[in-house]
């Protein structure tokens, strides 16, 4: 039976187990996520959020389980997933300009014996325009503010043309105005039909930013609407003892 591409899950994970030692980082995670949504991945520190993202990229070795990206087994899904790294994992002194970083998004489409075509450059320019970073094209990436750096990597992800975008803590350590600017870019990517999966640490804003939440701590504890996930009993099980979280949440009337 031929299914409409819209009906294929953005990604579907079955019984995924990943480990770096005797204690698994992810254990028996199964979830299916519809396309065109803004999804937040939440959970305490060291709960496997980043591992989950890296699994979707095909970057970690799976002990068990399968992953499908838009109906394709992950082994065949190279380049269908774009990635925005965590700020801390980037070498900001690397000799590279804004434009060159964005062009990396096209590398998967340029054959090794060719250089970037006019079309590639046009797409890069368009994506830099979209995140309003065109004026900074020639800047070295270390000379930008935190929010601008984040936007450069967003442009790279957009240039890649992937339908599934993974972002590792894009809101960590940025000010309120930047947070809004990033959210804007995410929303417009979503409006263009893309699925965005965002690792997020701040429960207080989670309900406000995302359509659906994935609550992970080694296992998948919940997936669904924020109101269904941000439940006191569920959260207290996952965030044992981190009571500060609840104080803020209650104060804002989320639970």
């Amino acid at each position: 039976m031929i299914t409409e591409s819209r009906e294929v899950a953005a990604f579907s994970v079955k019984n995924l187990t990943v480990s770096y030692g005797p204690r698994p980082a992810l254990l028996d995670v199964s979830v299916e996520v519809e396309q065109g949504q803004l999804i937040g991945v939440i959970g305490p520190n060291g709960s496997g959020k980043s591992t989950f993202i890296k699994s979707l990229l095909g970057f970690v070795k799976r002990d068990f389980g399968s992953i499908e990206i838009l109906g394709q087994p992950i082994e065949k899904a190279k380049g269908m997933v774009a990635y925005v790294p965590q700020r801390g994992s980037v070498d900001w002194d690397y000799p590279i300009t804004v434009e060159e970083v964005a062009l990396m998004g096209r590398y998967g489409n340029i054959p090794w014996y060719k250089s970037a075509s006019k079309e590639d450059k046009r797409i890069v320019k368009e994506c830099l325009d979209m995140v309003r970073m065109s004026d900074f094209r020639k800047r070295q990436i270390g000379q930008l503010s935190g929010g601008q750096q984040q936007r450069v990597f967003m442009a790279r992800a957009l240039a890649q043309g992937a339908d599934l975008l993974l972002l590792d803590e894009p809101f960590a350590g940025v000010d309120a105005a930047t947070e809004n600017a990033i959210l804007d870019v995410l929303e417009s990517a979503k409006a263009a039909g893309r699925t965005l999966v965002v690792v997020h640490h701040d429960l207080a804003t989670a309900a406000e930013y995302f359509d659906k939440l994935l609550l992970i701590k080694q296992r998948l504890f919940a997936y669904g609407d924020p109101s269904a996930v941000l439940k006191e009993d569920l959260l207290s099980e996952v965030y044992e003892g981190e009571l500060k979280v609840f104080a803020t949440l209650k104060q804002n009337g989320h639970i």
Partner: protein, 505 residues
């Protein structure tokens, strides 16, 4: 004059050994520079050192093998293959031990290369009678006595390595910058790691024949580091590193014939001096540039005092002496600060009178806003009116965006300070076309509703709707939003914060 030039420079070029050293050395330095760029970006410098030390064991074994098996002395290809194998074994051992043990990689590198180096020397000593290798040449290099086989080796290595790096430049760039992204688009990251390590082994082997074991790592990383301080692009960095390597060889060789010093060390000395010169004088990343930037920096307090006083004295054609009087600072200091503020574009100067530029006006507005918000804050926390002004004058220098936003929000976005003066409107988040909460907008602004942040608040406004702002009521605690049909909606602080709009004017 021409005679002197010839005696100093020209005469050496007629010597075959010098010319060979010049050409061979330049080729090696060029490749070393290019590969070195990737090596320092990947922080693999120490591994380079390890490879050069491990080489000796490979050379001795290669020599021995050919001698014992076929009776051939000093067979160059065999020694080359031996060194490459030794390099490979070293890398593999380092990889294995650092994975299998709890030791960190740098420790393992140190252990392995010292061990293999020692092994090589011991084998050499045992087979002294059979192996005729001058250990000193090995350690210090012998660029002026370079042989034909070394020359060929150098050329072949250069061609292969440069071809690989130019052809796969993009791949080396992305795997060194963001390996996760590289893997996700299907680039075999591990394979490129191996290719880079192999290139590095080749380059180190050919560098050792020129400058010796100890200095080969210097030829690999120093030109690259020099280039790193001069540019912000990897391709340019590689070109500059190659040039820096070649000039080091040329300069170093002349240094060696003039001072009668060994070739290898002279080259390294020249290379290092070049690096130090760049470290000091590089236009952006140099120490001097940094020092100048710092020196030109006017103390923030003085800068702001001057701005405020210019603003107070009318903002246009204000005599510098009046400014000095009004802020009670020496005229000399004020003049110096003003020179720097002019170069920063905050002020314009005409016949010792200054005028605020647009940027200067913005800056003084920022301070006024911060000053008046701090005054409101001080009143809010219960300070007596007489003390408020002086205290706020100290506090207004704390005016980073987040602080001001925090105070503004905490006080409910006041419009007037305790003295009844207007607090300038937020100009960071609310210029035309920006997205901001309604709470930041002042009377008369027009905007388009974007979204309502908190869905628990029940507000009858839909995205896309045009609104304008009316006069605030209840001492500023109630915002009035006017719809296109004239209907007025009253909002409290929390609700006004939750409505995001795009400003139209």
């Amino acid at each position: 004059m021409t005679d002197w030039l010839y005696q100093t420079f020209g005469i050496h070029l007629t010597q075959t050994y010098f010319l060979k050293a010049l050409i061979g050395g330049s080729i090696v330095a060029c490749v070393c520079g290019v590969v070195g760029c990737l090596v320092i970006l990947r922080r693999m410098a120490f591994l380079g050192d390890a490879l050069s030390h491990a080489m000796i064991a490979g050379v001795v074994c290669g020599y021995l093998f050919m001698k014992l098996a076929f009776g051939i002395e000093a067979n160059a290809p065999a020694m080359l293959i031996g060194s490459i194998i030794a390099a490979g074994i070293t890398v593999a051992l380092i990889g294995f031990v650092s994975k299998a043990s709890r030791l960190k990689e740098d420790t393992v590198i140190g252990i392995m290369y010292c061990g293999i180096f020692a092994l090589g020397i011991v084998i050499l000593s045992i087979f002294q009678k059979h192996v005729h290798i001058d250990i000193m040449h090995f350690i210090m290099g012998d660029i002026l006595g370079i042989g034909d086989s070394d020359m060929w080796l150098t050329v072949i290595v250069a061609v292969i390595v440069l071809t690989v790096i130019i052809l796969f430049f993009r791949f080396f760039q992305i795997t060194s910058f963001d390996p996760i992204m590289a893997a996700s688009i299907g680039i075999p990251v591990l394979l490129f790691d191996y290719i880079l390590t192999t290139c590095m082994s080749f380059v180190v082997v050919s560098a050792v024949s020129m400058v010796g074991v100890i200095l080969s790592v210097g030829l690999l990383i120093t030109p690259a580091a020099t280039a790193y301080l001069l540019t912000d692009r990897l391709n340019r960095m590689m070109i500059i590193a190659a040039i820096s390597g070649v000039t080091s060889v040329i300069g170093g060789l002349y240094l060696s014939v003039w001072l009668n010093a060994a070739g290898g060390v002279s080259i390294m000395l020249f290379c290092t001096l070049q690096f130090i010169a760049v470290l000091i004088f590089a236009p952006r990343y140099g120490l001097m540039a940094d020092w100048l930037r710092r020196k030109r920096l006017v103390p923030q307090q003085l800068l702001e005092d001057i701005l405020r006083s210019v603003h107070k004295l009318g903002g246009e054609n204000v005599p510098i002496s009046n400014i000095a009087n009004s802020i009670k600072v020496e005229l000399g200091k004020v003049k110096k600060a003003i020179t720097s503020m002019i170069s920063e574009g905050l002020l314009d100067k005409q016949n010792s009178q200054v005028t605020l530029t647009g940027k200067g006006q913005l800056h003084s507005k920022r301070m006024m806003r911060s000053h008046r918000l701090w005054e409101s804050y001080l009143k809010h926390v219960g300070m007596e009116m007489e003390k408020i002004h002086d205290q706020a004058e100290q506090l207004e220098h704390i005016h980073d965006e987040e602080t001001v936003d925090y105070i503004d929000d905490k006080l409910g976005h006041p419009t007037k300070d305790p003295h009844g003066e207007e607090i300038p409107e937020d100009f960071i988040h609310t210029p035309k076309g920006e997205i901001a909460p309604v709470s930041l907008l002042r009377t008369g602004r027009h905007a388009e509703i974007q979204r309502i942040k908190d869905n628990t608040i029940d507000i009858q406004l839909t995205p896309g709707e045009m609104i304008s702002l009316g006069e605030r009521q209840d001492n500023g605690a109630t915002w009035v939003v006017i719809r296109e049909d004239g209907e007025q909606i009253y909002l409290n602080h929390k609700q006004a914060d939750a409505i995001l709009v795009k400003t139209i004017d």
